[in-house]
């Protein structure tokens, strides 16, 4: 379908880029991205992906908007308090860009539902806060051969990496297994500066967009870390683990695992 005049104007700053153009913008409009977690990372990612004209955006989250979320989860407003996060996020995305079809999933991701959730999407964005979910998303994406962006944020630091099937290590190559409960602090325990979600979530959106338009170098085989206090970005080369339990030629994990959630991560 040809672009309408309104779309030509809306996406003009994209279309003028040689790396995007009409072709790239069409790819964005035809793309389907699933965001798991409508929180600190998912909120800014969702805003930029909707504004960019990613045609179908899925958003999965079981929570409601809480006052303590608003310091960083910029897709929700004070008027949304108590509302399902997926509903609040969908309303904001649609208000920004009516071109976008938003699918909402008001649920936690589990081994039971994740394969169905990710099946219809081209790229997955992990915006979850806890390690059981991060490992589950990794394993499911490896098994379903779906590319995804992993990220984590805490205090004044953040990091992200991108997995593309067959093109580099997965999250489990690097981190093996979830840490025991409460061994590693969560944002709720340790705090996080609100703008960190904006920095790292926007970088995740950038990876999704680059993947969709097929331009540039993704963070495959690299972990990008950001230290806001030192104001330093650093890239760490990541090898593949030839014995990785999930992405190697002979995986020992062939079924999805629901790791126990740390109590502090459970629904308040």
């Amino acid at each position: 379908m040809p672009f309408t005049n309104e779309q030509l104007e809306r996406y003009s700053r994209h279309i003028i880029l040689k790396e995007v153009g009409i072709k790239g913008q069409k790819k964005l409009l035809n793309a389907k991205v699933l965001i798991i977690g409508a929180g600190g990372l998912g909120a800014p990612a969702a805003l930029y992906l909707a504004a960019a004209g990613v045609g179908t955006i899925g958003i999965a989250d079981a929570d409601e908007v809480d006052l303590s979320n608003l310091q960083r989860q910029v897709i929700h407003t004070t008027a949304d308090l108590g509302k399902a996060k997926v509903k609040s996020a969908a309303e904001t995305m649609t208000a920004i860009n009516p071109d976008v079809k938003v699918n909402t999933y008001r649920t936690f991701v589990t081994s039971q539902n994740i394969m169905n959730l990710i099946a219809g999407y081209d790229f997955i964005l992990d915006g979850t806060d806890n390690f059981p979910a991060k490992f589950l998303i990794n394993d499911a994406c490896v098994m379903a051969k779906k590319p995804f962006s992993h990220a984590g944020i805490i205090r004044f630091r953040g990091q992200l990496m991108t997995y593309v099937p067959g093109q580099g290590p997965c999250y489990r190559c690097v981190f093996k297994n979830p840490p025991p409960k409460d061994a590693v602090p969560t944002c709720k325990q340790a705090g996080v500066i609100g703008a960190m979600g904006g920095v790292i979530g926007s970088l995740q959106a950038m990876e999704a967009i680059k993947y969709i338009i097929g331009q540039g170098k993704l963070l495959t085989g690299r972990l990008l870390t950001y230290d806001a206090l030192k104001m330093e970005f650093h890239t760490i080369k990541l090898p593949r683990d030839e014995h990785c339990a999930v992405c190697s030629a002979y995986p020992t994990i062939t079924k999805l695992i629901d790791y126990e959630q740390a109590e502090c991560d459970m629904k308040k």
Binding site: G37, A38, G39, G40, L41, G42, D61, D63, N69, Q73, K85, D126, G127, T128, D129, N130, F131, K134, A151, G152, I153, I154, R157, G158, Q159, V174, F175, K176, P179, A183, V184, T186, C187, K188, V192, M196, G197, L223, E232, H234, I236, K237, L238, P239, D241, D265, K268
Partner: protein, 70 residues
């Protein structure tokens, strides 16, 4: 003395430093859960104490980081 690149920064270190000693010296957070690469290769946790660093080695620490929703 020898020169190592640790977390992207070149610095002088005493010769025959073990990876375990470096982790302590660098005050690595949650050392029981850190992933380490030397010259872009993973080091098994069980080998940290026996791994002796060499002049010119590049060492990176990879940390668990949650965060996002809630």
């Amino acid at each position: 003395m020898m020169i190592l690149t640790v977390a992207g920064k070149k610095k002088n270190y005493p010769e025959r430093l073990t990876l375990s000693a470096l982790i302590e010296q660098e005050a690595v957070e949650n050392p029981d859960y850190v992933t380490v690469t030397i010259n872009d290769a993973f080091v098994e946790r069980g080998d940290f104490a026996q791994t002796i660093l060499k002049d010119g080695d590049t060492v990176e620490f990879l940390y668990f980081m949650g965060g996002g929703t809630v």
